[in-house]
Symmetry: C3
């Protein structure tokens, strides 16, 4: 007996679950490859928020096995001249609009090849101007899962859109960065690596406001409701409220400035 | 080597994800057919909103391959005398309460047969009055995935509940319809086919209010925040705000009237 | 042809869907066992709400087939000295933090064995202080799905954390209990078994407030907007508003007291 594993196709979108768009994409994939295994990563990327999608993909994709096909549709430019990329990253495949949503992933794992989709014979016969998820992404993902040769689908490109960088920087005794993501718990995940903050800082400001923090290893080391600083699970400086939402209490949105005095 | 594909069972409900109801249904299916492939379509149909469920199914189901078993539970009449239908539509199977939730799907794809479930031997031994998703829909879907003969499960019927039609109509130079759905982005999807509006209209009213629109092919052709009219991905007239929510800005709910002056 | 079923791993968390945490866990599982079938039960357990997770698992897990691996991460104590349990319950496996989240499940189905995870060789090489879902739960679930011998992963324990009991009690003609869960519809599910209320009560108070109820078998027996009492799908006393939210109308949260006069 040889067990043939069904190919894995993941979906990451800003489509929500209330509308039929995700269900439609799944149907298109399964109509072309009834055997595909479809895995939802998230459909709650905030609408049109390329930066959030970028953070999500850079964080999640590296954990997947080679051969996985990731489909990412956060695509405010759908139907315009923006291209659609098919990248090979650490043996995986990623389909995404060429709008910068792969910036962080490509920084962590430089792609082996990046192609721009050109071969319309793998698309649905009629391509709408507003739903390339259904008409291009889903059928290409299905065909790729059946025949994993990216060269079939497009031509190599050397240039693609990158999100403007907002790296952290060290200014003497001060480290300056920003909140790159706010998680479901309201925890504030900065872009400052923990390694840049070797000891408990003397002060931290977030969004221009001084925030007194108790420095802990994990949430349970402080009392419920306490404001804490810690190392996030991806190794960056995180600000949280134990059993509460730091984002709500401090009224902070993604992109807010963070400054740390060593 | 012969690869035996696991049968595909999709779930569409208004149960949300916070409550254990969907998880219970999945467990019931898998206890009867451990090999079933379960696919979530949506669990965020608004509570008891048969009209939203109807729009969702009419839009999504046609994209699935023959043999798929769709389970749709938006069922305010659970436990009353309303029947449960098992329909064959384009080679697929659909289980849904007989409350009109299949009206739009049946209009697009007239069913080959429609049955009313009668054979209680395929149900759970005890049927509650409030959770037929667990006690009838899930076990019938599982048995059907093992033995796809609908005649086992019920008797043919020629009558079923239809939602009162609200078709669009043309009145001289005016086309009148309604908003049939509001998507996750807040885009307003009307029931007026784009073909009924051959050129950019001189004016559009939504919910009795004049709405000045910029006519575009896709969102990215106008600036963020602009109110646009376009052809939706299913070919009907759509009103949207670029990178924003038209439903929120115009304070419109599904069912609102739309009038277009040609 | 022998069909080899992929092992089933379910996920129940309070991680939401907006953050990449669930996607990361799925990637870790699939990187160790590319063949695992991953099933989402819920990621909307309210943040850090062990009592809600407890209700969810006690309700859902019993419906699954033997051999299923359930991963439950509602874990405010992550990274502290709290243990992680691997329990065998009705032929299934459950991984959960030792914080009481399995109390109700163990009451309904006393576990065959309960172990505490000790064998770090099945964990990720570096274990963070804040994301054991990724670093311990996911890899142990994957390894367990490949080799279902729980003894590999930890040592038997005889003691574990139990949530303080809040059983209902009968006081003469009065039955007193509490709202153990509020579902997605806003229905109030009490911990009072229907059997303890043999006939329609003369009065019901919820949260200290007298609530006039119409007693019905199912929602559709009363008019939309009416406040009804009925037997919930798991056999307990439930208070609901037909096509509406009793929790919102009565302003009730989980844990509220319920008193029934027979």
């Amino acid at each position: 007996v040889v067990f043939i594993m069904a190919p894995l196709i993941t979906l990451t979108t800003d489509f929500g679950e209330r509308s039929p768009y995700v269900a439609v994409m799944k149907g298109v994939v399964l109509s072309l490859n009834a055997d595909a295994r479809i895995l939802d990563l998230s459909h709650l990327i905030p609408p049109q928020d390329v930066r959030s999608g970028n953070y999500f993909l850079a964080t999640a994709v590296p954990y997947y096995p080679p051969g996985t096909v990731h489909v990412a549709v956060v695509d405010p430019g759908v139907g315009t001249q923006r291209g659609i990329l098919l990248a090979e990253v650490a043996g995986q495949f990623v389909l995404a609009p060429d709008n910068g949503v792969l910036t962080g992933l490509f920084e962590r794992h430089p792609p082996t090849t990046v192609r721009r989709l050109t071969e319309a014979k793998y698309w649905r016969p009629t391509v709408s101007a507003t739903f390339h998820g259904r008409d291009i992404f889903a059928p290409v993902a299905a065909h790729l899962s059946l025949d994993p040769r990216p060269a079939l689908f497009g031509v190599p490109v050397m240039e693609w859109v990158r999100l403007p960088g907002e790296p952290y920087r060290v200014e003497g005794e001060r480290v300056v960065g920003s909140i790159q993501a706010i998680d479901h718990f309201g925890n504030l995940i900065s872009n400052i690596p923990a390694a840049a903050v070797p000891s408990a800082p003397s002060s931290v400001t977030v969004g221009g406001r001084d925030v007194p923090l108790c420095w802990v290893r994990t949430y349970g080391e402080a009392a419920a409701g306490e404001l804490v600083g810690l190392v996030s699970s991806d190794g960056s400086l995180e600000i949280a409220i134990v059993n509460g939402s730091a984002a709500a209490r401090l009224d902070i949105e993604a992109g807010a400035a963070v400054a740390v005095e060593l």
